[in-house]
Amino acid sequence: MKYSEIDVAVIGSGPAGMAAAIKAKEEGAEHVLILERQEQLGGLLHQCVHNGFGLFYFGQDLTGPEYGHRFAEKVRDSGIEVLLETMVTRISADRQITAMNNREGPLNLRSKSIVLAMGCRERSRGQLNVPGTRPAGVFTAGAAQRLVNVEGFVPGKRVVILGSGDIGMIMARRLTLEGVEVKAVVEILPYVGGLTRNEVQCLHDFRIPLLLEHTVTQINGEQRVEAVTIAKVGKDKKPINGTEQVIECDTLLLSVGLIPENELSLMAGVELDPLTGGPVVDHWRETTIPGIFAGGNVVHVHDLVDNVSWEAEIAGAWAAKFAQKGRLEKERKIILKPGRNIRYVVPQAISTQNDVTLYVRVKDMEENVQLKAGDILVQSLRVVKPGEMLRMDLSYSQLSQLKEEAAELIIECERRR
């Protein structure tokens, strides 16, 4: 059947996967197949009932499902093939894909190119090592979001949220509007982990107590959560003895970090960047394995879904070209390295022959800074925060200022004098 003649196979149908597939079709790929493990296209968008999606991509303030709907319609209209409720269990460097569903059982497919668009998963309690007992009532914020917004359940009625990442803050609001008492959002840093917009519209709006420089030191309750103990932390982020407080609650939500989901990437031998948790990619979004591309949260955790789709489109476009030509002609590449106060930069390699957009996160909050690529001053900013990803646009003419032999470019965040 069609399974042996796939040009571009896209794994995942969230805002990255759908965008990549549509772009691949637009760039001329004939057989584009999306493999999605859930029962419908859209990935996590269905559970993100709040707005803030598409402000830049569509110029409108949409909710997650609306944003997904636009792309899903285009997928349907583009002749892209879709396999739903199909879990990819293995991929290889030569683009063989093993997948599984309950209609056809194990499937073996081969594609000329693959776009990885698996998104990310949440850091769990086990990884955080929160001491205490192991009662029912501890959920990651995303899992709770699914329960509340899709499954029709509210996990508890007195909730503490650990972590002020965007999902945590969004859930603080969502739960409040479902009648839950959100007793506190506890954040280990001296500032909120997610977007300021969420701090205002989720926490301030509902007067939800935000405890900065605090962490949960213990979970109590044998069967179900009964309370959590929180404490203030010092500059070393370790709890300060004597500052413990017990907050009675029946639910603890964890919003403490997202990790790009790269199980499959590792199977194919794709090299991951320990700084992002995702594949090392060049500005065509090709990974270290030729023919395997990646875009979206699987590469690095984004804040705005618009950037997820744009990035995935790059991956989709070049995956289509790869499928047509069998390989990509690439000019000399420069490796980008994170310098002062830069946690990571994506892509990790670029060519100097095109305009390029870099995505960057800082390590620490700073005010009055300049973002530089080598000697090139790209942007001055009043404030930068790790929770808000930054774009650095480099033009071809700026890049051509670089020395001929330069193999490396340091991206850094400098204090402005």
Binding site: H46, V49, H50, N51, D61, L62, T63, G64, P65, E66, H69, V148, N149, V150, E151, G152, L177, E178, G179, L195, T196, R197, E199, V200, Q201, H204, D205, R382, V383, E388
Partner: protein, 121 residues
């Protein structure tokens, strides 16, 4: 003379502005903003803060327990909790399409509650 602090969330900068309001309730001075859109945003945010209301409603005769909804226009921030109550008893029945009005003129705000996802079965 009263001082109000308002964080502008018009863009990710999140400028922290200060508004001085006289005893008539007029804004007489604004400091801390970086652009004219921001200036306008914080004044409106002070005078009459509004929000897009997003939520879910229960369904009946459907395989899916919930339908996600939104208001098609912002409503007064002070009405958010009332809005939650207003939709708590509403039930959607398939078929519903994205954009379909579920509850017109929520709380007399002029905003309709519309579906943000399809509910086809």
């Amino acid at each position: 003379m009263v001082e109000e602090k308002v964080i502008c969330v018009g863009c990710p900068l999140g400028c922290r502005t200060t508004l001085r309001i006289d005893h008539h309730g007029d804004v007489v001075k604004i400091t801390g903003y970086k652009c004219k859109e921001g200036r306008q945003y914080v004044v409106e945010e002070y005078r009459s803060p509004v929000r897009i209301f997003t939520a879910t409603i229960l369904t009946e005769k459907s395989a899916k327990p919930l339908l996600p909804v939104r208001t098609n226009r912002p409503i007064l921030k002070s009405k958010l909790k009332e809005a939650t109550l207003a939709i708590a008893r509403v039930k959607a029945k398939p078929p519903v399409r994205v954009g379909q009005v579920i509850l017109p003129n929520l709380l007399n705000s002029g905003a309709d509650v519309v579906a943000t996802d399809d509910l086809l079965e």
